[in-house]
């Protein structure tokens, strides 16, 4: 996907929120948008997601898109699962929609709330529904606007894992989050908004807060791994250790080799990421 001289303002007499943005969002990239409040991060995300058409320039080559807004008020007159079924059809999913809706509600820890009306759900639960609708179709472009806000620990981990899965699948993920350490070490690129509407791209990992550079270790928990599979993982380059317990493999892997290991393991049937964290390094 490519943004070509994209500019956006909300009306002719309004100031430019972003202007003259020409950037590539290549497949397999995890891209973080950075900038102070009001610098136009959400607007750029909305333009990139196709929610809003740019005022100037254009967005080309956008794959099928899932978008998670920063707040998802539960004022639609549906139960959670019925909303997801509608969204599955809007995303063009056929009969697999219901199964995927149930899978994502389960993964995000919202399965028990499937039949509850959206109005009755808490803010965090509504957020999980919003995330589920974006992930239903395994979109080629996933756009997350502070999607982690209001989620419990387990769901934050599940969303981290889902974002990394999209990237491992060759998708593009664009995100904004106030947490500096969000997906640290896995970011391919940073788009920095300077507050005047200009955006510049910087390589991932080089700047920002806690970043896992060379030598750091990630702990990845994979669900659906057989003991035999665990042995295969342990032999992969960059894997420091792998233990399998009740179908869950806990893999310690060098950060720089993690992408390749995940790419190989996630191609197996039934395997998905249940959590990713950075191993506490000495002296940190």
């Amino acid at each position: 996907m490519r943004l070509e001289s994209v500019g956006k303002r909300y009306g002719l007499r309004q100031p430019w929120v972003v202007r003259d943005v020409s950037l590539d969002a290549a497949p397999g990239r995890l891209i973080r948008l950075e900038g102070r409040n009001g610098s136009g991060k959400s607007t750029l995300l909305r333009v990139a997601a196709g929610v809003s058409l740019p005022s100037t320039g254009r967005v080309t080559g956008r794959p099928h898109t899932g978008y998670v807004p920063e707040r998802f008020p539960g004022t639609l007159p549906f139960p959670a699962r019925e909303y997801l079924l509608h969204m599955a059809r809007v995303h063009g999913l056929g009969t697999s929609g219901a199964r995927r809706a149930d899978e994502w509600l389960e993964r995000l820890g919202a399965a028990g709330y499937a039949t509850q009306p959206l109005r009755a759900l808490s803010k965090g639960m509504c957020q999980k529904v919003a995330i589920a609708q974006a992930l239903l179709s395994s979109p080629g472009l996933l756009v997350l606007d502070e999607a982690w806000t209001g989620l419990d620990q387990a769901a934050r981990g599940a969303l981290d894992a889902a974002a990394l899965e999209r990237v491992a699948d060759g998708g593009t993920v664009l995100f904004v989050d106030h947490e500096q350490a969000r997906l640290a070490g896995r970011i391919s690129e940073r788009w920095q908004l300077d507050g005047t509407g200009r955006v510049s791209a910087a390589p991932g990992g080089a700047t920002g807060g806690a970043v896992a550079g060379d030598g750091s270790v990630l702990v990845v928990v994979l669900a659906g791994v057989e003991p035999a599979g665990g042995a295969l993982i342990a032999d992969m380059p960059g894997v420091l250790s792998c233990s399998v317990d009740a179908g869950h493999a806990t893999v310690r892997v060098a950060a720089r080799a993690c992408d390749e290991v995940l790419r190989r393991v996630l191609s197996w049937d039934g395997v998905h990421v249940a959590g990713v964290r950075q191993e506490k390094a000495a002296g940190r």
């Binding site: 997601a49 898109t65 899932g66 807004p69 998802f72 008020p73 549906f78 509608h86 179709s137």
Partner: protein
């Protein structure tokens, strides 16, 4: 597009936003049918009342979906199609009201063939209608003009083109009344043209081709403006628009 229409129709049904327009339209038709009227005149009245009612159904649909939910749909299907689906769902609800209203008029009006009838049974009314199918066809054509004008008024006077809730509601009402009263509007012109034939109760009240074409143009212009505004200057607030 089918999925989007199903989604919007489900919002309309599940949110119970259809109840008020249904009651309002029923009441307006009942007022019109209070005195015994010939069928052609009754159908004209039912068509005229579609303008404000469909304008308000359109308002209901344009304000039903919270901005955040619309954004999710727009990412999946495009902002233009998302907006069109909302407008189409409202128009579809209007079509159902128009059909229901026409049925009520057929059952409640005087038989077309007799100036001074004894109380006619259902079978008599239907036989009389079958003898003059043009009356019903002309009434439905007038209803189509009013339906399109009502939808255009709703699209023009509501979000995203007019966001302020109070101003939007007043504008919807005022423009709907203007569209009925003024001969400039296709609905007004159609109703004048058909009431010109009022003296002959058995004649069909055809709205005329110009009002129908003008109403279609009006609809195209207002819907284009509404979808353009929805895609370019979309509401950024997460609450209901």
């Amino acid at each position: 597009m089918i999925a989007l229409l199903r989604y919007q129709a489900a919002i309309l049904l599940r949110s119970h936003r259809w109840i008020f327009p249904l009651i309002a339209y029923g009441a307006l038709i009942a007022v019109g049918a209070a005195g015994s009227t010939p069928l052609a005149g009754g159908l004209d009245w039912g068509a005229a009342m579609l303008v404000p009612v469909v304008a308000f159904i359109t308002r209901s649909m344009l304000t039903a979906e919270p901005g955040a939910a619309r954004a999710c749909v727009a990412a999946a299907a495009g902002p233009v199609r998302a907006q069109l689906a909302a407008l189409l769902a409202a128009l579809g609800a209007g079509v159902m009201l128009a059909i229901g209203g026409a049925c009520v008029e057929v059952l409640s009006s005087e038989t077309a063939s007799d100036r001074n009838p004894p109380p006619a049974g259902l079978a008599v009314k239907i036989t009389a209608l079958a003898a003059h199918p043009a009356i019903l066809a002309a009434g439905l054509a007038t209803a189509a003009v009013c339906l399109l004008v009502g939808s255009a008024v709703g699209a023009l006077c509501n979000p995203p083109l007019l966001r302020h809730p109070g101003a939007a509601m007043l504008a919807t009402l005022a423009v709907a009344v203007f569209a009925l009263a003024s001969g400039v509007s296709p609905a007004g012109a159609a109703l004048r043209e058909s009431s010109a034939a009022q003296s002959q109760p058995q004649a069909a009240h055809w709205p005329g081709g110009v009002p129908l074409a003008a109403a279609a143009c009006l609809l195209a212009v207002t819907w284009t403006a509404s979808t353009y505004a929805a895609a370019r200057r979309e509401n950024r607030s997460p609450g209901a628009t």
